[in-house]
C-alpha cells in the first residue's frame, strides 16, 4: 500500500494554512475581472447597440415622453448577465463599464439592477426650421456652403455622397433611406436620434455632424460622375455565375469587414499582406460580403447591366438595393408574400431566398433541404422542432417564423 500524503499531512500541521481568510481579510479581484456593471448615462447616446448585442437579454430600457423630449431609463439586470462585456465593446461612447466589484449578492431582484436615466431633449425650436431645410438640401445653390445642423442630426453632402446605403444600414434608428438608383438620401427627422453613427460609417465623409467643417458645394455637375463611376467600377470585375463573390482589387481596402461578417467564415482577408481569399467550399453565396463592403469592392453573381436603368423611372421600394439579385427581377411571380405559419415552423419567402443553403446547414434537426442549383427549399415537417434557428441565420430574412 502506498500513502503518498503522509509527509504532506504531517508537515501541513506546522505550516501556515493556505487559506485566504476571505470575509475577514478582503480580497481583490484580478485585473481585468469583469464584475458589476457601471452605467454612465451622461455618455450614453441611446443608440441601443448594447441591447442588441446582449446575449442574455440583460439590458432593457423604458422610455417615457417628457415635455421637452424623452426620459429613457436603461436597466442592466446582473442576474441575467453573462459578463461577456460585448456591450462594453460595442458601446462607442464608453457608457458601459465593467468594474472589479464581484460582491453581487442580493436578497431582492432590484439589488441586481443597474439603472441609469438618459434624458434626450427634442430640439423644440429649431426642429420646425430644420424641416424645410431638409428638402432644400438636395438642391443647394452652387457655391453655397453646406453646414452641419445644430440639432445634432446629420446632413448629407451630395457632392461627396456615392449613395452606397451604408449609412442607412448602420443607422441604429433606421432613420435614413438611401436609394442608390434614384440617388436620393432621405432623413426621417422623427426617427433620427442624432447618434452620428452614419457619419462615422460614411466611407466618403459625405455626412456632416455638428462640429464638422462646412463643405462648399461644388459645381452642379458633381453628381454626374457618380453614375458613370458606377458602371465603370462594375466593369472592373465580372461577377461569377455561381453567385459567389469576386473581389475588385482596385477598390478593396482590405478592411476585413467582409471576412468578419461572412456567416460561413469563407473569407480570409489580411490587411497587412493585402490579400483576399475565398474558401470556395465554405462559401454559401449569400451575398452578405457584397452588401457589407463599404467600398463596393465585391461583386456577387452576374451583373445584369441592362437591369440598372430598369428601376430608374420610379423610386424603388425598400427592396431596391437588392435589385442586383437576378431572382427579384423575374416579374412573372405575383408578389404574394407568404404568411408565417401558426404551428411555429418556418416558411420560405421565395422572393427573398437566394438558396444559399445556410439555413439547411444550421438547422439543428436537419429538417431543411435546400438545393442551390435546382432552387428548391424543402422542409421536413416531422423533423422540424420549430426552433427558429433558420430564420435567425438567414442573411436575407427570407424565412418567416
Amino acid at each position: 500500500m502506498d500513502f503518498p500524503f503522509v509527509k504532506e499531512a504531517l508537515s501541513s500541521i506546522f505550516k501556515k494554512s493556505s487559506c485566504d481568510m476571505y470575509p475577514v481579510r478582503p480580497s481583490e479581484a484580478a485585473p481585468n475581472y469583469r464584475g458589476r456593471i457601471v452605467f454612465h448615462p451622461d455618455k450614453c447616446i441611446n443608440c441601443n447597440m448594447c441591447e442588441r448585442v446582449c446575449s442574455g437579454n440583460a439590458i432593457t430600457h423604458v422610455s417615457e415622453p417628457t415635455e421637452d423630449g424623452e426620459r429613457i431609463t436603461r436597466t442592466f439586470y446582473l442576474g441575467s448577465c453573462t459578463f461577456c462585456a460585448t456591450c462594453m465593446d460595442f458601446c462607442g461612447h464608453g457608457a458601459i463599464e465593467f468594474t472589479r466589484d464581484y460582491h453581487m449578492v442580493a436578497t431582492k431582484e432590484e439589488d441586481l439592477m443597474v439603472t441609469g436615466v438618459v434624458i434626450k431633449k427634442t430640439p423644440v425650436k429649431k426642429a420646425p426650421a430644420a424641416k424645410p431645410a431638409a428638402p432644400a438640401a438636395p438642391a443647394p445653390a452652387a457655391g453655397a456652403v453646406i453646414k452641419p445642423r445644430d440639432d445634432g442630426k446629420p446632413v448629407q453632402v451630395p457632392s461627396k455622397c456615392v449613395y452606397c446605403t451604408l449609412c442607412a444600414k448602420k443607422c441604429p434608428a433606421g432613420a435614413l433611406t438611401v436609394d442608390r438608383a434614384a440617388k436620393t438620401w432621405t432623413l426621417n427627422e422623427d426617427e433620427c436620434v442624432g447618434c452620428g453613427t452614419c457619419a462615422d460609417a460614411c466611407p466618403k465623409k459625405a455626412i456632416l455632424m455638428p462640429g464638422d467643417e462646412p463643405v462648399a458645394v461644388e459645381a452642379p455637375a458633381a453628381p454626374a460622375p457618380a453614375p458613370a463611376a458606377a458602371p465603370a467600377a462594375k466593369s472592373a470585375v465580372v461577377g461569377r455565375e455561381d453567385g459567389k463573390p469576386v473581389q475588385d482589387p482596385d477598390k478593396c481596402v482590405y478592411c476585413t469587414i467582409c471576412a468578419k461578417k461572412c456567416p460561413a467564415g469563407a473569407l480570409e482577408v489580411d490587411r497587412a499582406a493585402k490579400t483576399w481569399k475565398l474558401d470556395e467550399d465554405s462559401c454559401v453565396a449569400c451575398g452578405t460580403c457584397e452588401s457589407v463592403c463599404p467600398k463596393k469592392a465585391i461583386v456577387c453573381g452576374v451583373q445584369d447591366a441592362p437591369a440598372a436603368p430598369a428601376p430608374a423611372p420610379a423610386p424603388a421600394p425598400a427592396e431596391a438595393p437588392k435589385a442586383a439579385e437576378p431572382e427579384v427581377i423575374e416579374p412573372c411571380k405575383p408578389a404574394e408574400p407568404p404568411k408565417p405559419r401558426d404551428d411555429g415552423r418556418p416558411v420560405q419567402d421565395p422572393a427573398k431566398c437566394v438558396y444559399c443553403t445556410i439555413c439547411a446547414k444550421k438547422c439543428p434537426a436537419g429538417a431543411l433541404e435546400v438545393d442551390r442549383a435546382a432552387k428548391t427549399w424543402k422542409l421536413d415537417e416531422d423533423l422540424c422542432i420549430g426552433c427558429g434557428t433558420c430564420a435567425g441565420v438567414c442573411p436575407k430574412q427570407a424565412i418567416l417564423y
Binding site: 494554512s17 493556505s18 487559506c19 485566504d20 481568510m21 476571505y22 470575509p23 480580497s27 479581484a29 475581472y33 464584475g35 446575449s55 442574455g56 437579454n57 440583460a58 439586470y77 446582473l78 442576474g79 441575467s80 448577465c81 453573462t82 459578463f83 464581484y102 460582491h103 453581487m104 449578492v105 442580493a106 436578497t107 431582484e109 439589488d111 441586481l112 422542432i385 420549430g386 426552433c387
Partner: protein
C-alpha cells in the same frame, strides 16, 4: 437561553445541499472551490451534505430546465425548516443566455421564494461566501421567527 443557544448554533452550522438544475458546471466547480483550502468555507461551519434532509441551505445552479423543475421543487420541499434557498450564478435567476428557450422553465423565483441571489457567471468563490454569509443571517432570522 436554550432558544438563544439554538439560534446561535443555527447561524454557525449551515449545511449545504447543492442542486444542479441544468448548470453548465461552471458554478458547480466554483461552489466546490469554496470548500478548498484557499477559501475553506468550513470555517463558517459549512458542510456539503448528501441529502436534502440534512441541509439548511439549498444552493441551486443552472437555468432550471423543464426536465429538472419538478425534481428541484421536490427536493427543496424535502428540506426541513428553517431552510434558505440560494441561487448561484445568473442562470437560476433569469435563465441567462438560455432565456426563452423551449427547454427552460426558469427563473426559479417563479416557483419558490428565493432568499439570496449570488450573481456572476460564474460567481467568484468570494462572492459565494458573501452569499452564504447573507443566507446565514436569513437563516438566523427564520429560526428566531420559529420560536
Amino acid at each position: 437561553m436554550f432558544k438563544k443557544l439554538i439560534e446561535e448554533s443555527t447561524a454557525k452550522s449551515p449545511w449545504l445541499f447543492h442542486i444542479n438544475a441544468g448548470s453548465c458546471n461552471g458554478c458547480d466547480i466554483e461552489l466546490v472551490s469554496v470548500l478548498t483550502p484557499r477559501y475553506d468555507a468550513e470555517r463558517l461551519g459549512v458542510k456539503l451534505s448528501g441529502t436534502p434532509r440534512h441541509a439548511d441551505i439549498v444552493v441551486v445552479t443552472g437555468p432550471v430546465t423543464v426536465q429538472s423543475l419538478p425534481r428541484v421543487l421536490r427536493t427543496i420541499e424535502q428540506v426541513p425548516e428553517p431552510r434558505c434557498i440560494v441561487t448561484m450564478g445568473s442562470c437560476p435567476q433569469s435563465g441567462n443566455v438560455f432565456r426563452g428557450s423551449y427547454s427552460i422553465a426558469g427563473p426559479l423565483s417563479k416557483y419558490v421564494h428565493v432568499d439570496v441571489d449570488v450573481a456572476g457567471c460564474a460567481p467568484k468563490p468570494e462572492a459565494v461566501i458573501d452569499g452564504l454569509v447573507k443566507a446565514i443571517e436569513i437563516l438566523r432570522e427564520k429560526r428566531r421567527a420559529m420560536n
